[in-house]
Amino acid sequence: MLAPREPEPSHRPLIPVAAATLVAAGGIGWLLQRAWKPEGDINHRAAQALSAGAAILCASVALDSALEHYRGKFKNRAMFVGPTMALLGLGAATCLAFRPDRAKDRLPKIALIAVGATGLIGMGFHSYNVLKRPGEIDTLNLFYAAPVGAPAALTLAGLYGVIAGEMLDGSDFVETRLPQLTAGLIAFSLLGTVAEAGLFHFRGAFQDPAMYAPVTIPPLAAVAIGAAALSPRAADFAKPLLQATAVLGIAGPIFHAYGIHRNMGGWYNWSQMILQGPPLPAPPAFLGIAAAGLGLLPALREREH
């Protein structure tokens, strides 16, 4: 009888890589938080954080969809729409984040509504792409056809932007249901992004234990901010979890860069691996959502008084 074969132990320096990545991401996150100086009352600060979150989401979608649609050779002309609208959303949301005084302008609002609608239409296109393939809804197509959930990030960004515009228009929204509803939206955003990351990390067989991070911490953050919508005291739990989620959003591209290095040919073979390896621009979606959530927390807390 043959003895059962033990798998060969990994020689990858996973722990040092993970530690260095998280330290670097934490440092970048700390610097970002220090540099972030929103002005005005709680309404204003929440609105600006939501706009910044929308801008980060749009930047992530713009790069990621440009890369993935390039991989798909822009076979369908409509594939230009996603990256283009994401850039438009990035412009409009950045404008709101840095020039809140111009929130009454119609243009950014219209742009953000259009961006949000594009996300819905994109999900339709991607669903069609899955359904037209043999096997329709099976794991193979969910893994390798157009990702059904990805365009939703544009819809979320559009919603964040529109909500930010509402908050900036001068009325006091702390006592309305808007912060609560927004907290619910952010919880939903986190869970959707977790589903996306979970699907693709499952496809990648969770071969690096760090791949479990985005399916463990952000769901907790989602629950916490959801709870904070109902009970202001839960905001205390939500803050560190959202901060951790934001750090993951920064750490993601670094981890993914290491993943590209680990692929056949590594970075020397970048022209293939940037398409085939883990997607560099995808993880900052977590940063965008977490930033929006962190900015909203004071408004949620305020409801106690």
Partner: protein, 202 residues
């Protein structure tokens, strides 16, 4: 025979030599095929020249100044007795099959045409090879060899296999060589990665 024109007239797979498509392992393996063509060890000089003549009809290379070497690699295979790992029922082991097959061809040609295969006209050579392909040979020379199997599964397969292992043949068909380290990203129908050969309109 219709004239063959490569759809990739300006493509040379060897341009990938120093690119991220190839690594040291690739370069070593391909370099051996280019530079270390084996010398004759197993076949006799007569068998060698007969096989050269047969190969020239099975895989004609009129447009090449220097043809892709095929016979040296068959000889190398026989010398090292590197068999494919399987054998058709009724076929003798690889070495015996080649020796017996070449002997039968040599003898049958003298019998039919009164001169060796190498000295036949191209038409007669093709005609005779066709009779082997169709199994219409005389058992006096071939005894119990499954002749059609010898032609299709040994002779033709080895010739094509060796021809298309050579980078010059890869250039002709737009093949990129080993998919290591750089493989393929766009794997759907009619999709081409930027580092793949682009077919010209011919």
């Amino acid at each position: 025979m219709s004239e063959f024109r490569s759809p990739y007239p300006s493509y040379d797979v060897l341009d990938k030599w120093d690119s991220p498509s190839w690594n040291d392992q690739t370069r070593e393996a391909v370099g051996r095929r280019l530079d270390d063509v084996p010398k004759r060890h197993f076949l006799t000089a007569e068998q060698w020249s007969l096989l050269e003549a047969i190969v020239a009809r099975l895989m004609p290379q009129p447009d090449r100044e220097e043809p892709v070497p095929i016979v040296p690699w068959i000889d190398d295979r026989l010398q090292k007795d590197r068999r494919p790992g399987y054998r058709y029922a009724g076929m003798p082991p690889m070495r015996e099959a080649w020796t017996a097959g070449l002997a039968a061809i040599a003898a049958e040609c003298i019998d039919r045409f009164g001169k060796p295969f190498e000295e036949l006209s191209s038409e007669d050579q093709d005609g005779y090879l066709t009779t082997i392909q169709n199994g219409e040979v005389s058992s006096q020379f071939w005894s119990d060899m499954p002749v059609q199997c010898f032609f299709s599964e040994l002779l033709l397969k080895d010739v094509l296999e060796i021809y298309y292992s050579h980078p010059w043949a890869w250039s002709e068909i737009g093949f990129g060589g080993p998919a290591s380290p750089r493989g393929y990203v766009r794997t759907g129908f009619n999709e081409r990665d930027p580092w793949e050969a682009e077919a010209a309109d011919v």
